[in-house]
């Protein structure tokens, strides 16, 4: 027995590799962040960068919701509530922290937080940046704690009831935040310095929202956190905890019979998702420079749910792709680009696949018909002067219903994008 133990211990990686193994995600994240801000962002221009930034925040939201809704099969409809909690806490830390520590609520960031020009002579990591990152992390932690408190009693409930309870929780959060006392304006910072922390912490603006925040969020920070989220969730999916989540989704009772402590794992999924939602909330607040719980109600939760459902419940790449598409789509719809180039490309691919008898002729027909319809619709709207963007939500809702009826697994289902095969599998022995 002891020989077995020693043998298996010898297979484990040596102790000193702990640090590189833990550090490489952070390094990759830093690299991606730098690429996003200074390579991609610099060449895209202000507006596209903004869209990319918002897409990044939505990716974090969608991927974190996939952990709960997709992996674990628990339908949570209160995700925006956690985002609000994290956002307000982060905003409070940054705003009142700036006042207490630096004397004013002005922007005190370094090069990493600057957009556009104007960064001459600034340090790479300003003291405001440190406060900002701390704020986001603290926001995430508090959101996770709230997730624990909410999750523990609720996760004993069945699917539909959990949905309603989480919806109710989201609304309660909104009501509570909108009842907070007024924030202290930046020009009254001296007053704020007198007040003790616990009093300041609840002065979150109430119905007027928490405004005039310094804007630290840039492509760098957003994509740093996006990468971390993606890596964490991907590793989670392939870890034993992830397996437990998936088993709960498939059949709760069987999982429990197999020794999986169902409620404990459900709560873990919930807490993790809430952490990332809180993080995203902090990024969101410091991007706009203001946060108002009234905008983070169940409609925002529905938006995130649509992203998760369309991307495939349980697919990280699906959720990320759907988040990007659904962020870009409203802007695209303002001035829809022609569809026929994409349709032509797909048709060519289809013909190639048909010749290799991987796809059927009807796939080509569907592609041609859909392209014709979309292009025709677009031309018609151009001629008549109809703005398609007004119908955006209508289109989403219809897409959601059609998706559920025709392809309920979403874009990718439980698989990731890189696991898909382009054609039908040839019959070759037992399924692996």
């Amino acid at each position: 027995m002891s020989r077995l133990i020693r043998q298996s211990q010898s297979l484990a990686p040596p102790g000193w590799t702990v640090f590189p193994r833990a550090a490489w995600p952070l390094l990759v994240a830093l690299l991606v962040g730098v690429l996003a801000q200074w390579v991609v962002g610099a060449n895209l221009g202000g507006f596209s960068s903004k869209v990319m930034l918002i897409a990044g925040i939505n990716i974090i939201l969608a991927v974190s919701l996939t952990v709960v809704n997709g992996f674990t099969g628990q339908f949570s409809m209160g995700h925006a509530g956690f985002m609000a909690v994290g956002g307000y806490v982060a905003a409070s830390v940054v705003y009142y922290g700036s006042i207490k520590l630096f004397g004013s609520a002005d922007f005190a960031g370094g090069v990493l937080s600057q957009t556009g020009s104007g960064a001459d002579g600034a340090p790479i990591l300003g003291r405001g940046d440190v406060l900002f990152v701390t704020g986001c992390l603290v926001g995430g932690l508090i959101a996770a704690a709230v997730g624990y408190v909410v999750g523990l009693p609720s996760l004993r409930l069945r699917g539909d009831y959990l949905a309603i309870v989480t919806l109710g929780f989201g609304e309660i959060v909104r009501v509570l935040f909108q009842g907070t006392p007024d924030q202290i304006q930046p020009w009254r910072a001296a007053e704020a310095q007198e007040k003790p922390l616990h009093e300041l912490a609840i002065m979150l603006g109430g119905p007027k929202g928490f405004n005039l925040l310094p804007t630290y969020t840039t492509l760098f920070w957003v994509y740093l956190f996006v990468t971390i989220t993606l890596i964490v969730c991907y590793r989670l999916k392939t870890s034993s905890t992830g397996r437990a989540f998936l088993s709960i989704r498939e059949d709760e009772i069987a999982a429990q019979a197999m020794g999986v402590h169902v409620t404990r794992y459900k709560v873990r999924a919930f807490v993790l998702a809430s952490f990332f939602a809180g993080l995203a909330g902090g990024l969101y607040a410091m991007d706009i420079g203001a946060i108002n719980a009234g905008d983070l109600g169940f409609l925002k939760s529905f938006e995130v749910i649509i992203m998760v459902v369309l991307g495939g419940m349980g697919s990280i790449s699906g959720a990320a792709l759907a988040a990007v598409i659904l962020t870009v789509l409203p802007e695209l719809l303002r001035a829809p680009p022609p569809v026929w180039p994409l349709g032509a490309l797909l048709a060519i691919v289809a013909i190639g696949q048909i010749r290799r008898s991987r796809w059927r002729v009807r796939h080509l027909v569907i592609i041609v018909v859909v392209t014709a319809l979309l292009e025709g619709g677009r031309r018609y709207c151009l001629v008549k002067g109809i703005n398609i963007a007004d119908f955006r939500l209508l289109i989403y809702a219809l897409a959601l219903v059609l998706m559920m009826i025709l392809r309920p697994s979403g874009l990718f289902g439980l698989h990731e994008a890189w696991e898909l095969r382009l054609g039908r599998r040839k019959k070759e022995g037992p399924e692996t």
Partner: protein
């Protein structure tokens, strides 16, 4: 004392509205075991159809004179008919293909339908984004006073109509063959179809009846708050529907009498909370009750606990 009575009275009146909507939720849940999220939008549709039909008939300009009383009934009948049709169409198109699908899928579809209806109503070719006022269909005046609390004609109309509809529903479910079929399908769908019951027809019928009750609730809501301007894009519609759903759950979902009891209970809780505590947390009281009930007695007040067999 006056305030206590006033609160009870208001709570009961609004509770009747919740009860009517909750009946729709509970009937659909009893038969199909899923929450029809789109139900609150049928309620909103009932309100807007009442406004539109009153406009077509040229009666009841808000703030003006009330038309003869039977016009109100015509508007009510019209709204109920349209909403019943809408309920039927939704069921056929969106829910029927998913009859055997996992519940999560149907839930998401219901959310999709709900969002679709909400946004459809806001379009310019539908009801448009502008606020419209509820028509004045009743010559509203105080009828009598009980211990300082005035009973207005509109309140009496609301309570009276609700009682009538509930009596009709009671007769339908316990006194007709269709009602027996509905009860059978809610016990066990497969065996009911083995017994020769056309399950599809029963399900459609249930949806239609639920939608008609929601439309009636909408009409009565407009009656109670006549002259007020509301717009399609208000989050209030979904909130009202949500509270009615909470009422259904609290009373015991799947249980018709539970829905009525739940509606009255939620109405009273809301109004007592607003009157004696703070009106700021109006919505929070209702959700707090939901959470309490789900934690301690998830099957609801009148529901029966079911044991899941492995």
């Amino acid at each position: 004392m006056t305030q206590l009575l006033q609160t009870i009275f208001d709570g009961v009146t609004v509770g009747c509205l919740y009860a009517l909507i909750a009946l729709g939720y509970t009937m659909v849940y009893g038969i199909l075991k899923f929450i029809n999220f789109a139900h609150s939008d049928v309620f909103a549709l009932g309100v807007w159809m009442s406004i539109t039909i009153a406009g077509w008939l040229g009666v009841g300009a808000a703030g003006g004179d009330a038309p003869p009383w039977y016009m109100g009934l015509v508007v009510l009948a019209g709204a109920m008919a349209v909403c019943g049709l809408v309920g039927f169409v939704i069921e056929r198109l969106a829910y029927k293909p998913l009859r055997n699908a996992p519940r999560l899928q149907v839930l998401i579809t219901a959310i999709g339908v709900s969002l679709f209806l909400q946004n459809l109503g806001q379009q310019k070719f539908a009801f448009g984004p502008y606020p419209e006022s509820f028509p004045t269909l009743l010559d509203n005046r105080p009828l009598f006073s009980v211990a300082g609390v005035e009973m207005w004609l509109s309140d009496v109309a609301v309570i009276g109509t609700t009682l009538l509809l509930m009596a009709a529903l009671q007769f339908l479910i316990y006194g007709t063959r269709m009602g027996m079929a509905m009860r059978a399908v809610s016990y066990n769908t497969r065996n009911a179809s083995l017994m020769g019951i056309n399950v599809d027809r029963v399900i459609s019928f249930t949806f239609v009846v639920g939608a008609m009750l929601a439309a009636a609730a909408g009409f009565l809501y407009g009656l109670k708050y006549e002259g007020q301007a509301k717009q399609t894009a208000d989050a209030m519609w979904v909130m009202l529907g949500l509270k009615a759903f909470v009422a259904a759950v609290v009373g015991g979902i799947g249980n018709v009498r539970g829905a009525v009891l739940g509606g009255l209970l939620i109405g009273l809780v809301e109004f007592f909370g607003v009157a004696y505590l703070s009106s700021q947390y109006r919505d929070a009281y209702v959700f707090a009750i939901l959470i309490l009930v789900l934690l301690f007695k998830p099957e609801g007040v009148l529901g029966r606990a079911t044991v899941e067999k492995v």
